[in-house]
Amino acid sequence: MFLKIVQVAGFLGSGKTTTILKLTKRLGQDGKKVTVIVNSLGGVPVDGMVFRESGLKVEEIGGGCICCELAVNLANTIRLLKEVYDPDVVLIEPEGLAIPNQVSVGIASTKVEVELCPILVLFDVTNAEESLDEKRLGYIVQKQLADAEIIAINKIDLVNESTLAKYEDVLKSVNTSAVIVRISALKEVGLDELVLSLRV
C-alpha cells in the first residue's frame, strides 16, 4: 500500500501545529501509524519539540523552507521515515510562508511510492481581514489558498456565523474548486469531516 502524504499548509498562526496534533490523535484512534515532518525557518524547531512531547515520531527540517531550497531534504526525509518507521500516513507541516504547490513538487520527487492526499490549507478566520490584505502579506496567503484542494476555515469557535459566511464567500472567490470545511482544531470541531475530505 502506498504511503499517504498529507500536507497541512497555511500562513503563520493559522493553526497548523494544533491541527496536526489533533489529526494524529484521530488517525491513531483509527489504528493508523502516523509520523510528522515539520519544517521551520529557524535553527530551533519549536514545533518539533511540541510534537515530540506529545509522543509523536517527528522529523524536523530546519534552517530553510521545504518549498524551495530544502525540497531535496523533504524527499529524502520521506524516504527515511518510510525505512525507519514504515508509517501509514505522513503529515507534513511546511513553515507558514511556504507555497503548497512547491512543497508538493518536493514530495513527488521522493523515491518512495506515495499517495498525495488533497492539499490542506488552513485559514485563520479570526485574522481574516489582515491576512488577506494585499498591501501587507495577503498575496502569500492568497497564493497558498489558491493552491489548496481543501481549505479549512479554522478557529470557528471564536467568530459568529455572519463572519464565517462572509469569509467563506471570499475564499470561494479566491479558489473556486477547493472543498471548504469549517473547523476548530483546538476544540476538535469539524475534524471528522476534515479527515473524510483528506481521504486518509
Partner: protein, 143 residues
C-alpha cells in the same frame, strides 16, 4: 523558486535557572509576559503592519509550556502541561520577522528575557545549537 520578499528567522536556545522555584501559575505568566513583551518591542521597532511570529517553548523536567503570538495585535496563546514547580528548564525561542536587523532582534529578545526573568530571580544562559556556531542565534534570509 524563491520567495518574493525578504524575511528573517531567528532561533535560540537558553538554559534557565530560578533561585526560588516557580509555581505553575507564575511559570505560565512568565511565558505569556515574555512573548508579549517581545511582541510589543517589535511593534515599536517595525510598526504594526509587518510580519511577526514568535514561538517560545519551555521544556521542564515535568512537561512543557508553549507560548506564541502572530502579529502584534493578537493575544498570546499559551498551552501548558506543567503541573510541578519549575527550578531549571530549557527555553527555545523562534522568531520570524521582516524589516528589522539581526542585531535588533537579538537585542529585543535579550531585553525581554532580562526584564521578565530578573524579578523572578531567574538567570539564563544561551546554549549553542550547532557545534561550530559562534553564537546561539541562527538566521535565514529569503529574498
Amino acid at each position: 523558486m524563491k520567495h518574493k520578499f525578504k524575511y528573517l528567522s531567528f532561533g535560540a536556545l537558553f538554559r534557565l535557572f530560578f533561585e526560588q522555584q516557580l509555581d505553575t501559575v507564575s511559570s505560565e505568566r512568565m511565558m505569556t509576559e515574555l512573548v508579549r513583551n517581545m511582541a510589543s518591542d517589535f511593534e515599536r521597532n517595525m510598526g504594526s503592519g509587518g510580519l511577526l511570529r514568535i514561538k517560545a517553548f519551555l521544556k521542564c523536567p515535568a512537561g512543557y509550556i508553549k507560548a506564541d503570538v502572530t502579529g502584534v495585535k493578537k493575544g498570546v496563546f499559551v498551552e501548558s502541561t506543567v503541573k510541578e514547580r519549575v527550578k531549571r528548564a530549557e527555553l527555545a525561542i523562534n522568531i520570524v520577522t521582516q524589516e528589522i536587523e539581526k542585531e535588533e532582534v537579538e537585542a529585543i529578545a535579550l531585553r525581554a528575557m532580562e526584564k521578565i526573568l530578573t524579578p523572578l530571580n531567574g538567570r539564563f544562559s544561551p546554549v549553542k545549537t550547532h557545534k561550530n556556531a559562534a553564537e546561539p542565534w541562527s538566521r535565514v534570509f529569503h529574498v
